[in-house]
Amino acid sequence: MSEAVATKRAKREALGPYGRVGNVINELDERLGIAKGGRTFLDKIFPDHWSFMLGEIALYSFVVLLATGVFLTFYYIPSSAIVTYHGSYLPLQGQHVTQAYASSVDLSFGVRAGLLMRQMHHWACDIFVGSIVVHMARVFFTGAFRKPREANWTVGLTLLILAIGNGFLGYSLPDDLVSGTGLRIAYSIMESIPLVGTYLAFFVFGGNFPGTSMIPRFFVLHVLVIPLIILGLVGAHLFLLVRQKHTQFHGPGRTENNVVGSPMFPVFMAKTTGFLFLVAGVIGLLGAFAQINPIWQFGPYDAARISYAVQPDWYMGFLDGALRIFPAWSFHSFGHTIPLEVTIPAVVLPGIIFNLAFAWPALERKLTGDNAMHHLLDRPSFRPKRTAAGAAVLAFLIILFIGSSTDVIANFMHLSLNSVLWGMRVLTFVVPIITYPIAYYLAKEMQRAPGAGKRKTANVVTRSATGEYIAEAAPAYAEDVHHELEATPVPTFIEPEQSSDNGVRTAPR
């Protein structure tokens, strides 16, 4: 054995059993005291249920938004100054367009990977808002918002509103014909608010529409102010999540007092990092193969021009639909006008929906008198009233969303616009009203089903020596025997009667 090898080994042994890593930990801990908290962090348990990744989709599409968005800011020019287009897109050659529009087209065609980045950014936004909505639905229908997590419900809902708002602002920045029309509508909606509307619109847009301030203003809001708030609230959302720990579904060994799942390191870390790549990958493939917002086809914004059959991004659809199907009820009296045909569908209606959502945890606590801590999740079918209420509101929003395409539906189905409009007006009321009882009784039925919450077991058919066939249900899976399912106190509003025949034991009140 040479001397060099021996010294190497001696050195390694001197480092102790954990090698260099141990050394680094020691040095860091001496200065920052990281070891105790670090170990707890590495050992943190994450539940494995698939529905918990919906929030991760939102988080990771936000990461993609930040990365692609920074790229776009290097080339986008937030200016309404008029320039003559001389880029590589021939049909626009020589046209007078705003610098915002020219730079958006240029970054799509003149910058390497620019078009990909723009399309990824737009897709990531649509996915961001979509995953927040689905994540929120999961939280709602499983009762994850209940005490002690009301604050996180509020933070999440605020994030949804900010995401929708920032999506709309970003959609407006290219200053193309479609986005400009959207801004015109937004301006008129602000203007419609009684008393302060015109002042609000003038302050936001820096004067009468369109003016030259909106593009630079909305740019700063879109790339700096709102993303910073979102980032801060995402931090708060995750902090609360770690501090209060995850909720979990019922299952073997799971109680109100523990969390069952995989540890942060290395299992969850591998899965979640892989999931970040997967989300980015899917957005990348969408950016590659699914064209979105081709602004060069829409043309530059011109306040006196308009395009036909253009819909806003999906998350604004319910507002557009409400504006279409609400009747022309303007109110004028005493020398003043209240444009109810705008104010009610575009200001009052979203106000009611979002405020109802903000108030729901408190409202449910009040209605049920249930003030207990809840860490175990509900199956939606075990809370029929809540499930039915949520389903009815979702149905209402979906009908409004479909209502944003009345003209396209009329064209496509060869119906008169009038019958489509009246059809949507009727459906807006009828669908939520029938959704409620359907969801309610469906939930009750599912709850009574003997296999509620359990996997199906096989029917084992045996043939006896005498040739007789006997069918017998195989025993339930060990983890499906719900002896651990200690139901939390069942609130009367949510579930009016206790049933003992549904295989679920209900704890005494």
Partner: protein
């Protein structure tokens, strides 16, 4: 160890090295390892492809396919590694009660109410002054900041740039002559000199339609407004201000593509379908000695959507 015991969650801190909870979840780890390896190799190839596509400046879809494909392969590989080859668990962690004891809560309330409140109780006058200063610093900073954001609306809501005698010009600035339009034609016009301004395009935009005189129902007080069948309406929809950009020639309806309000051009642009509550304001026209179409005056009412100050 039976199937049941191995599915019972254990604590990470108490688990021994030989415990089945620490074994991979995969029944056949070798196969899984190969599949994961294939994914990582595919990811590496995709990223090399991305670099190549970037260097040769390939089309966007090639960049996206190689990048997105690489990320997808990488993601699938890593997720599969975590799911099938790492300790399968399940592990359990106890929740710690977040709330403090009543004594600790009382101590905090005490600090705020007695220590802090006491300070204010003793100096009520100073407290009032402090509150007043705070309120004023808010008002002093917020109001000017808000006020600088834009001009006050005032009269701009009620007027356009159309004046008595304004020539109607198209977007290129050409004056509209009475022989320019055939019956059933439409043109978007602006007051001369304003066709290229923001306000001209957004507020003054007007459509002139030439309709056959026999179709036209004259509104009371507007007898002289539509000479030779030339009728002019504000192009701003009274619902939300979109340009009323579609003209249905057969039915003689102006249609707003945004929310499908329809206006009857033969009858004072009264809305007969959709959410628009008011007719499009009409611009009184006259034809001068040289045959050019000009405005008799501004619109007689505010154009565009409704707002509070509108009577």
């Amino acid at each position: 160890m039976s199937e049941k015991t191995s599915r019972t969650p254990v604590s990470l801190q108490s688990v021994r090295e030989s415990d089945p909870h620490l074994q991979p979840a995969a029944k056949n780890p070798i196969v899984v390892e190969r599949v994961i390896a294939l994914n990582f190799i595919a990811a590496m190839l995709s990223f090399v492809g991305f670099l190549w596509a970037y260097i040769v400046n390939a089309q966007a879809w090639k960049l996206g396919a190689t990048f997105g494909g690489g990320m997808t392969f990488l993601g699938i590989g890593l997720i599969a590694w975590g799911k099938y080859l790492m300790p399968r668990g399940p592990f359990v962690e106890e929740r710690h009660i977040l709330s403090s004891t009543q004594d600790e809560r009382n101590a905090m309330s005490d600090a705020i109410v007695k220590r802090g409140g006491g300070v204010i109780q003793r100096r009520k006058f100073l407290g009032g002054l402090l509150g007043g200063s705070m309120a004023l610093v808010g008002a002093a900073s917020i109001w000017p900041l808000l006020r600088s954001l834009g001009p006050l609306p005032k009269g701009t809501l009620f007027h356009t740039d159309w004046r008595k005698g304004s020539y109607a010009v198209d977007q290129s600035g050409r004056r509209i002559h009475k022989n320019d339009l055939a019956v059933g034609s439409i043109v978007t016009v602006f007051p001369e000199g304003k066709q290229n301004t923001d306000n001209g395009q957004a507020v003054d935009q007007t459509v002139i339609i030439r309709i056959s005189n026999e179709d036209y129902t004259t509104q009371k007080g507007r007898e002289s407004w539509a000479p030779h069948g030339y009728v002019a309406y504000s192009k701003l929809c009274t619902h939300l201000g979109c340009p009323v950009g579609l003209y249905e020639q057969q039915l003689q309806l102006l249609v707003c593509p945004c929310h499908q309000s329809m206006f009857d051009v033969t009858n004072g642009a009264l809305p007969n379908f959709g959410p628009a509550p008011r007719p499009l304001p009409q611009l009184p026209l006259y034809i001068d000695a040289n045959g050019y179409i000009r405005a008799q005056s501004d619109f007689h009412e505010p154009v565009g959507p409704g707002f509070w100050e509108r009577s």
